[in-house]
Point group: C2
Chain length 340, copies 2
């Protein structure tokens, strides 16, 4: 096949028109006579021609590509979100260019630089800490449209849920079920503004229920999380309920409880946060705060597409706080009379 000559001129020559006309057929179909348009379209199809995206981008300064910066896909929360982003982007004629940062700020900055060089039209990102992010500074300096996902910050456009209210809500529900020793489990608190937000909500909820909050159970390393949690659950006094800052931790807590000989939820209620899809198929089904992960991605895309159309980047005022939902799974129940 003469693959090398499959450019706009080849189509033009074959159709007996100029390159400009072919271009117009693809970009401004209304400005070309129906007969010519039909001819060019047919010729292009026969040859299997598609406009070269790089040349287009170079010329128009618009790539129809959105950059995506996420910590990892090994947490289903972000996989679900990326799926939402991918579908929404495709629906709007955009491609996506994702980069994974492993919760590392240096990699966040590097990813942003790379995506800037790729001429993306906008970026959706989840960063470790929006307050103090070199990556976000770059974006502002470049005046590139961007939205944060999951992060919440007054100075940036964000798609998020009110994690603080949700966490307080969880504690209130646990208290209403008779739990008094309610502990919170999280990963490295400093590495995630979401965890910090949820922790604030937890403290607020405990105060509102007039309960004393035991020390935060920080589980820094995923690999040893189950072990650390098992150890923790053997110390006295044991909590009757565990509020975990994410679903993966909740799942590991349930495992740790079993290894310790505790039944969930009878001996230990476990509540997660995130609403990963798989949680509902587990046994016991995971009790958790369900975030609209798919929609968080979708709204991020739509905000950016909208911004491109109107020509001005999204600002903090465009932030969206989406509703969450308490999923009353089987991993949580009223405290047993004996252990209360």
């Amino acid at each position: 096949m003469s693959k090398e000559l499959l450019n706009i001129h080849a189509v033009a020559a074959r159709a007996g028109v100029s390159a400009a006309t072919v271009s117009r057929v693809f970009n401004l179909p209304d400005k070309v006579a129906p007969a010519t348009r039909e001819l060019v379209t047919r010729t292009a199809n026969e040859l299997g021609y598609q406009p070269n995206a790089s040349a287009r981008t170079l010329r128009t300064q618009r790539s129809r590509v959105l950059g995506v910066v996420l910590p990892t896909l090994l947490n289903p929360v972000f996989a679900e979100c990326l799926q939402g982003i991918a579908l929404a982007a495709a629906a709007h004629g955009y491609a996506i260019l994702p980069a994974m940062t492993s919760y590392d700020e240096a990699q966040e900055r590097q990813a942003v630089d790379q995506l800037l060089a790729a001429s993306v039209d906008g970026m959706i990102l989840t960063v470790s800490n929006p307050s103090d992010s070199a990556a976000l500074l770059r974006l502002r300096a470049a005046a590139l449209p961007y939205v944060l996902a999951y992060n919440a910050h007054p100075e940036h456009p964000c798609i998020s849920v009110d994690g603080e209210a949700a966490a307080a809500d969880v504690v209130a529900r646990l208290a209403a079920l008779g739990h008094r020793r309610i502990a919170m489990v999280s990963g490295t608190l400093a590495a995630s503004d979401r965890a910090q937000q949820r922790y604030r909500g937890y403290l607020r909820g405990m105060a509102a229920a007039a309960l004393q909050a035991p020390a935060l159970v920080e589980v820094p390393f995923v690999a040893t999380a189950v072990e650390a949690l098992s150890h923790y659950l053997q110390t006295q006094p044991r909590p009757t309920a565990l509020f975990c800052s994410n679903d993966l931790l909740a799942i590991r807590s349930i495992r740790a409880a079993h290894l310790t000989g505790l039944n969930v939820p009878q001996d230990l209620a476990v509540v997660g946060f995130d609403g990963i899809a798989i949680g509902q198929d587990l046994t016991p089904a995971l009790c958790t705060i369900v975030q609209p992960n798919h929609d968080i991605g979708r709204h991020g895309v739509e905000l950016l597409v909208h911004a491109v159309v109107r020509g001005s980047p999204p600002g903090p005022g465009d932030s969206l706080c989406l509703p969450y939902r308490f999923y009353s799974g089987e991993s949580c129940c009223a405290v047993a009379a004996a252990t209360a």
Copy 2:
């Protein structure tokens, strides 16, 4: 900020050299005097300059981008694989452009077309059926390097595991544990060559153990899988072991068993396939065939990068059959004497 003039000429002017020299500093650093190189590097950093990827692509016909075509990220298998792809690609200086197809062949073709127009240097894809795929024909016609992931087919370069052997292995192990009524559960068989491969292995294993294979339990719709499985488990004679063609189905089978009042593994052994990371943290820990999902992605990237370097696309001869591993999780045990 004078964002518009941040091109190679701006750097050249500021450093008092020509654009060609700046270009060489970025592409052939050895061909420029150390002093000049240092000067240019410093100037570029001061200005925050990075070469424009589109222009580079247009000029060199190489984009340093790999296309990725996967069914969905809602199955952690593919999320884990994509994570592997993303990390490996980044390590080799490549970006990735993923597209999700929802197991739909029309979308597979569309994704390939879009990625071709984006001038990707190669593609990694998982398709419904490699034998009869319009998407793969396009790739061949375009002579673009590509590798299949998970798919196995003699006429294409593939990174896969021997699913048939693995499935036969599972059956042999279950038989050795005393199971005689071993049923297999899968999604729509026609929609996945992997499921078909595993089913062949199952049948082979049953024959080898001189056991009669009950009818395949096909669960077409994810939304109603638990319900369908619960119903199935109430019919007599019930199997003592279930071999599921993927881990998500295994997890749902375990749930269905519980809803039916059966204990896993005492009343029903459940074995999955895929080795999604979360399986090991479940209770009972999922017994499954562990595939190296991350490495499947990584090898795919490396095969493509290698091909670009040597200048010829990978062929069927470059296929890699990676080792799998039987993870002896808690969802499987010897058949109870009474139910055997």
